[in-house]
Symmetry: C2
Subunit: 141 residues, 2 copies
């Protein structure tokens, strides 16, 4: 099922109206994984008002459709695992690009074990890795 249909279906399920902001914000994020709030607002103002963008993102976050991913200090927006594959982020501090990694089962397992040692039950986790990407390593300066 296309994520677009899944989305509309979930909205209906949750008794949320399908409004213009909700259509555009979702489309924007799903076509621009890792977009920042500032970029998002810039792109769709004045079609959609700033306040509505914030409200929409918050709503979609509450319903587990969108999430904020912190990379260092700023955050970017992505669809959650329900709409996209679970992955982690490699952020190159030189060229500033972010690589989205493939799902890695041993990483997941070790993280779970780590938390379990403390009697902790995980609902969610993020791994934020910073360093140099292959290109920047091989092309210094």
């Amino acid at each position: 099922m296309a994520i677009h249909e899944q989305y509309i279906h979930q909205l209906k399920q949750e008794k949320l109206s399908l409004t213009k902001p909700r259509r555009i914000v979702f489309e924007m994020i799903s076509n621009n994984h890792g977009i920042t709030m500032a970029q998002l607002i810039k792109k769709i103002t004045p079609t959609i008002h700033r306040a509505s963008v914030y409200r929409t993102v918050t709503t979609l976050e509450d319903y587990g459709i969108v999430k904020r991913v912190y990379t260092g200090w700023k955050y970017t927006l992505e669809l959650t695992e329900a709409y996209d594959n679970h992955h982690h982020h490699l952020h190159c501090t030189n060229c500033n690009k972010t690589i989205h990694t493939e799902h890695d089962i041993s990483l997941e397992r070790v993280i779970n074990d780590h938390a379990r040692k403390y009697g902790f039950s995980i609902s969610n986790h993020e791994v934020d890795i910073q360093g140099l990407c292959a290109y920047c390593r091989n092309n210094p300066q």
Copy 2:
């Protein structure tokens, strides 16, 4: 060597003056791991001006002495690995407390392997785990 001396030594090395804000901010963070910016400012205002606190934290961050750790949306301040043991964070979404975990060599290894698959060389990484702590699991509601 006491971290205090290490700090003074590094400042000199980097040709940074040892000023009152730099002394107090460092001391505050090392004695209050996980303090928030707001708490920090509250504690040392008006001795040190807000703007100087921000500037100092940013400087110490640039030199790898202090780091901001994001837990969900807000961040807290800590000394980096150069001044403290490397660890990760278990954030309980119920009681809102954060557990600082012990160094876990297999977790480190898996994270390194994960990044290496992409030709990425790690300089730094954070693992942010959210869920329920042992206490809140056993005492629901």
